[in-house]
Symmetry: C2
Subunit: 222 residues, 2 copies
Amino acid sequence: MRQPPGRGQRSSGERKPREERWPELIEVATEVFYEKGYEAASLQGIASRLGILKGSLYYYIQSKEDLLFEVIKSVHEEGLANIESLATGDGDALQRLRKVIVGHIDHECGNLKKTAVFLHELQALAPDRQAQILGGEHAYRGVFSNLVATGQKEGLIPEGLDPKLAALWILGSMNWVYRWFRPGGEFTARTIGEQFAEMTIRGLAVADLQAPGAVPGEQPAG
Amino acid sequence: MRQPPGRGQRSSGERKPREERWPELIEVATEVFYEKGYEAASLQGIASRLGILKGSLYYYIQSKEDLLFEVIKSVHEEGLANIESLATGDGDALQRLRKVIVGHIDHECGNLKKTAVFLHELQALAPDRQAQILGGEHAYRGVFSNLVATGQKEGLIPEGLDPKLAALWILGSMNWVYRWFRPGGEFTARTIGEQFAEMTIRGLAVADLQAPGAVPGEQPAG
DNA sequence: TCTAGTGTAAAACAACCGTTTGGTAGTGGC
DNA sequence: GCCACTACCAAACGGTTGTTTTACACTAGA
């Protein structure tokens, strides 16, 4: 079964340069953290998927928590850049909000494991590292509360709504998706994003305003 | 420092009947799981808060996972009974949905630790135990999708919306609250529940219908 | 007074954890 | 052909974990 090091074919034992090993490590760590959760995951398990020994991981990291930190930091930066670019596009606040919601859910579903690790294991980090990632006043939430506040100035959203609460309301519905979405399942990311955006926009908009896009009539497959 | 067993005063060493110890155990376990997370929590820690040795816990449980199961099961039953009673009251579907949302968030914030353990640590259980708790087709979600479907029959909610997606949308926003709510903080559970209900109902209702209750004008303290 | 049962102590168990240390085969630059 | 460096192995470390076993002080009932 276990061939001597004739040639590849084994998943283990290959010596690789840092530039190749590092992203591999991040990817494998993400998968293992996703499957087992951070605390239940072991460096042993990560190392053996890479084909090296767990002690060898310390050539790349200084601690297990470092690994989680690196994973989460990269996911957060990626996701934040995504919605910030969507939020600063054309159109009024509600039109931009629609794009952000659809785009964020699409990104979330397309990067399910990474997102799940970020959303679920963030609190496994030490508090100062959590703060370091989220930024002083929750950059992520800020994008949404700013959109809501802008919508209020534009007269599209009633002044009675608290922008921060509205932002948390939106974030909650979106950040729950990773819990039940499965690729190839009942709903596509697109379907989810569009219906969520529809309901959310309608929930925020003033009474006498109706969003131009009608309720999408597509029947989800399955 | 360490008094010989003269009389009480120490938090440890008291022998108690099962009826008294068992709920104490569940409560302490809930707290520890809340603070550290299930995997990172140790039976050692739970036992020492009770003033007994970790081995003695096995007089009450058969495994650590059993403990989590008991905690989660009781929380789920409690929460489900709460929203089911609210969902079967008077009024049309949207009026009942409003009550359910406000009541559920109130319950969630009033039982923050229990709820957090349920929502965050459920997936630490073996899959069959998860299924055993959630019920065959997610009893919790069913309450909301049924309300949405009923609202559609009553002509209050457009037929184009998928009731299951709508239910997941609602659940997400509510189940995110435990992540940021803090007692005595910026918002009361009541404020959160009412604004969330307001936005959610409006997001679901057909265009030419306006909910009787206006947007709550209260300014949240802080 | 004897007895059965209850709630806990005490101690040990193997297993596994994250981390450290020291060594080394291979490689590219000089 | 030497040297420094890179990427990893090999082995061990102390500590903690969940769990099991045996024993025992105490209590209630007969």
